[in-house]
């Protein structure tokens, strides 16, 4: 019987100190640990360096709330919903500093972090302006006489925040095979601590029926929290689609600090529980629509 990792969202997020480097699973409109991100904001965390492959609405909310002052990743976009306006404003005004990496360079930095190596190389980015401005990237020669490579310095996030389909109370994490893109391949392995929210907690025996779906063993996980619809308003394939109306609602207010503040009150600060949050986003009937992937507007 391994160590118990089940806890509350509040306690889990209290593990994240101000100024921490927090890696967030995300991809434009997919699979973000949104309940965890809202709790981070609610707890008033500041000075975070947020790491994401492609960040969407979680980045925008943290930017609007003043939680983060650095972003490290490959892109920030909500795809068809457009740019993240609060993030964009904060970058343009110098409040958020961006370390922009190509995908292979981010993978190399995290891969080195996971494998206890000082760096890993890539051949991406060569010829771009992104190398010279980044102290964590440097061209080195090949000791075997081949082409030069870009050495990418190891990145070890303090915390990885991820959302998964199921786990047992010991933190063994499973994902459905259809959720393949968001960055769970290397991010949680690189981080010093892993906090996972999951759609459901199940008995360990359930996991033993499909051990190939467990992608992180419990001993690498520090906290696991049951949060149904924990990725809303992003999609969580195959369970539910992204919430188009909710994204639009945010975008409509994101440019306006006053409007954003009211919106944040309503959806982030006021709801004490995930149930209350889900009620405010439309309750059961809305969630049923999302489960049917009614997303083409």
């Amino acid at each position: 019987m391994p160590q118990e990792k089940l806890t509350s969202l509040k306690e889990a997020i209290e593990m994240v100190p101000d100024g921490a480097t927090v890696a967030i699973q995300n991809m434009a409109t997919q699979s973000a640990p949104m309940a965890a991100v809202r709790e981070l904001i609610r707890q008033g965390r500041t000075g975070l360096e947020v790491v994401a492959l492609v960040g969407g609405i979680p980045i925008d909310l943290m930017a609007a709330a003043g939680s983060m002052d650095r972003f490290t990743g490959a892109a920030v976009s909500m795809e068809q919903f457009g740019l993240c306006q609060a993030y964009r404003n904060a970058v343009e005004s110098g409040e958020i500093v961006v370390q922009e990496l190509s995908e292979t360079a981010l993978n190399a930095r995290l891969g080195a972090g996971a494998r206890n190596l000082p760096f890993l190389p890539t051949r991406g980015l060569i010829g771009t302006d992104l190398i010279a401005i980044n102290p964590d990237l440097v061209m080195i020669s090949d000791p075997f006489g081949g082409l030069d490579v870009v050495a990418c310095r190891a990145l070890i996030p303090d915390i990885a925040l991820i959302h998964c389909h199921r786990a047992d109370r010991f933190g063994n994490l499973q994902m459905e095979p259809t959720a393949v893109w968001p960055d769970i391949g290397i991010m949680p392995k690189a981080a010093n601590k892993v906090i996972a929210t999951v759609e459901e907690i199940v008995d360990t025996e359930v996991l033993r029926n499909s051990p190939e779906r467990t992608f992180l063993p419990g001993f690498m996980v520090d906290a696991v929290v049951e949060v149904p619809f924990g990725a809303h308003p992003t999609s969580f394939n195959p369970r539910y689609g992204y919430d188009t109306a909710f994204h639009h609602e945010w975008i409509a207010v994101a440019r306006d600090p006053e409007g954003a503040k009211l919106w944040m009150e309503r959806y982030v600060y006021e709801p004490d529980t995930q149930e209350e949050y889900l009620d405010r986003v439309g309750g059961v009937s809305r969630l049923e629509e999302l489960k049917r992937w009614e997303i083409t507007e």
Partner: protein, 268 residues
Amino acid sequence: MNDELSIDWTVDELMITSLSATLDNDDQACNGMASFIPVIAFQLARLTHAPDLVWVASAVGVDARPERVPASTLEAPLWRDSVMYLEQYSTFWDIVLKGSWLQKFCVGAAQLDRYGNGNNSVIGDDYHRPKVRLPGTAGLGDMGSIGKRLFFWNPNHNPRSFVEKVDFVSCAGWLGGGDEREQLGLTGGPELVITNLCVMDFHPETKHMRLKSVHPGVTVEEVQEATGFELLIEGSSAPETVVPTVEQVGLIRDVIDPDGMRLREFGR
């Protein structure tokens, strides 16, 4: 095969068929976010001249069969019925980097200069205090450097997109032109640019962007006016872009994209 030319084609369809024509039967193709034109071009190619083309939907689903084009080109409905799922870290990039596969990429850039260098990072002089923060380089910063053949598309040809010099190089094109790319050991590079006005390629020696064909109804002067640098124009005019066939238009409208998602690229 119905080779009859369409008489009611629209510019979105023309861009799709122009892109489709660049794809060969033994290609593999993949798409990123907000990529309706490429996604439809891949499917069209598979249904017409390139039946063996392997499409990796959203860089996830190998040989996917979506019911129709959905509102996002990066979400699960697009990779329905796949034969394989690629995982970003351990599979997708390993395959891309190997070099033998996925040799052509369709890419968009907020700014493109005369040598095909792309910018999706920032508008403005100061990278750290930009006038506009763009989404970021994502996979483009890799694709430009690892030997891929780049096919740019842009549904809104204008002088702010086609600029003398990009504010920031976040995708390596032909750099300063000539053999500059070669000197860095970079293979591949920008090959074609398809816009709502014309098709452009690059001069084999100077790597200067060159007018290849203008779309019917568009003049060479209009293209030059919409371009922020002096376009290379060989001869006194340019050939007309080949218009879609009746069959192609039918497949796009009725089979692949009945909801008209492609029009979103044109702000509609």
